[in-house]
């Protein structure tokens, strides 16, 4: 099973930001998205996750295969770690949350409310949710923000086990995760040439 995109065009708000985006990630592989801020990494990931429909182009997979993790942790301050994981497990239909707890070593924090956790712990909790989704393609937006080196290692290990288990990952990040055969993709090359090319209001005849 291969996750590929053919000349995808994605928009952010009224403007088309990326055009002719083409890539392929097969199972067991990871793809690192590189590019300066504002170049459209988040826009592309939201497009893959199905949140923003593509302006044009095609995807070989459906949003239901994608587990999306954004900048924001998506955690509720008043829920405990166990309650958060149990909630997402029920939503995604997986029964046991032990795998997620162990992957990010959260057993010790189970009864702690999210508001009492440090930024790094919160990040580990939100990444632990990915394991509960049971979805093959992980689309992650700057996952290692506010993680210390040991947590980054934990995260890289979790990604490796996911890949070994036949999963795939597309990660937008600036730091080296130490994933051996991860391909990289520079988003800058897909910047839409006229950034509002598809805007009918820019028709020359119209003035």
């Amino acid at each position: 099973m291969e996750f590929s995109a053919q000349n995808l065009a994605c928009r952010r708000g009224d403007a088309v930001v990326l055009s002719e985006v083409t890539f392929a990630v097969s199972q067991g592989e990871a793809l690192i998205l590189r590019g300066p801020n504002g170049s459209g990494k988040t826009t592309l990931l939201r497009c893959l996750a199905g949140l923003t429909p593509a302006v044009s182009g095609s995807l070989s997979f459906s949003p239901d295969d994608v587990a999306y993790a954004a900048h924001a942790d998506g955690l509720k301050a008043q829920l405990t770690v166990a309650e958060t994981l149990r909630f997402w497990a029920q939503v995604f239909g997986t029964r046991r949350i032990e795998a997620a707890l162990d992957a990010f070593d959260l057993r010790g924090l189970m009864e702690r409310r999210t508001q009492t956790l440090s930024a790094g712990q919160k990040r580990r909790l939100s990444l632990a949710r990915l394991i509960l989704t049971g979805r093959t393609l992980w689309a992650l937006d700057e996952p290692t923000v506010s993680l210390d080196t040991s947590a980054v290692a934990q995260f890289a290990a979790a990604v490796r086990t996911h890949l070994a288990g036949g999963g795939a990952a597309i990660i937008a990040t600036h730091i080296d995760l130490g994933l051996r055969d991860a391909a990289t993709l520079d988003i800058g090359q897909f910047r839409a040439t006229q950034s509002v090319a598809h805007d009918p209001f820019l028709d020359e005849a119209l003035s």
Partner: protein, 218 residues
């Protein structure tokens, strides 16, 4: 769906003041009106059903912008949108959670609090039944308004303006039924019409709410 409902109710109780917000507002209203209008029980009795209905409406309006805004700000809404749960189900569950924390307590409290307004006993059944059948519509319509304005900075005020005209049919029929009840007239027709509106809203509005959510997350 149940997981989301349980989570929302748990959150409402732990953080959002849960059942208290709607009730507190209702209590304040039932106390203030006699102070403002005067203790003469004749006038109070006449306006009691209407005041209770307007109170229920405003209590609902108060708590609408919290339905999606909190989940939008901390990113949960994005995750819910990519979850296997269809957004229509999320919309219905959110409306149900809002009704349980606002509409239901108001319906139960209407009769006892009505005594502060000399609510005539004859109006009691029509009022409580009307509220029971009408407040779900208020929650479903309110959730639609919340979905339209999620992500906007000053969304709270805008929601009231958008949702107010949508509340009109329910308010008109509900208050009319309560007033007819007070005068001992037949109340089945307005109640039935209002129930029809509630049923239709419950069935159709979640689709519009989900569409609005998708448009806002785009």
């Amino acid at each position: 769906m149940i997981a989301l409902l349980r989570r929302d109710l748990a959150l409402a109780i732990r953080a959002g003041g849960g059942f208290g917000l709607g009730l507190a507002f209702f209590l304040i209203l039932c106390i203030l009106v006699p102070f403002g209008v005067g203790p003469d029980s004749g006038t109070l009795a006449k306006i009691a059903p209407g005041i209770l209905w307007v109170g229920a409406l405003l209590a609902c309006l108060l708590s609408l912008d919290r339905i999606f805004q909190l989940d939008f700000e901390d990113g949960t809404l994005d995750l819910l949108a990519t979850a296997p749960l269809p957004l229509e189900a999320v919309a219905t569950t959110k409306a149900l959670a809002h009704w349980i924390t606002t509409g239901l307590p108001l319906t139960l409290a209407a009769a006892p609090l009505g005594q502060l307004l000399n609510l005539p006993a004859a109006a009691m059944p029509a009022l409580v039944l009307g509220l029971a059948l009408g407040t779900p519509a208020l929650s479903v319509i309110g959730t639609f308004g919340a979905a339209l304005t999620v992500g906007l900075k000053r969304g709270g005020l805008l929601i009231s303006l958008l949702v107010l005209p949508l509340y009109m049919p329910t308010l008109l029929f509900g208050a009319d039924a309560a007033r007819r009840g007070a005068e001992g007239l037949e109340t089945t027709t307005p109640l039935l019409l209002m129930t029809g509106i509630s049923a239709a809203s419950l069935a159709l509005l979640p689709f519009a709410t989900a569409a609005a959510l998708r448009m806002n997350l785009r």
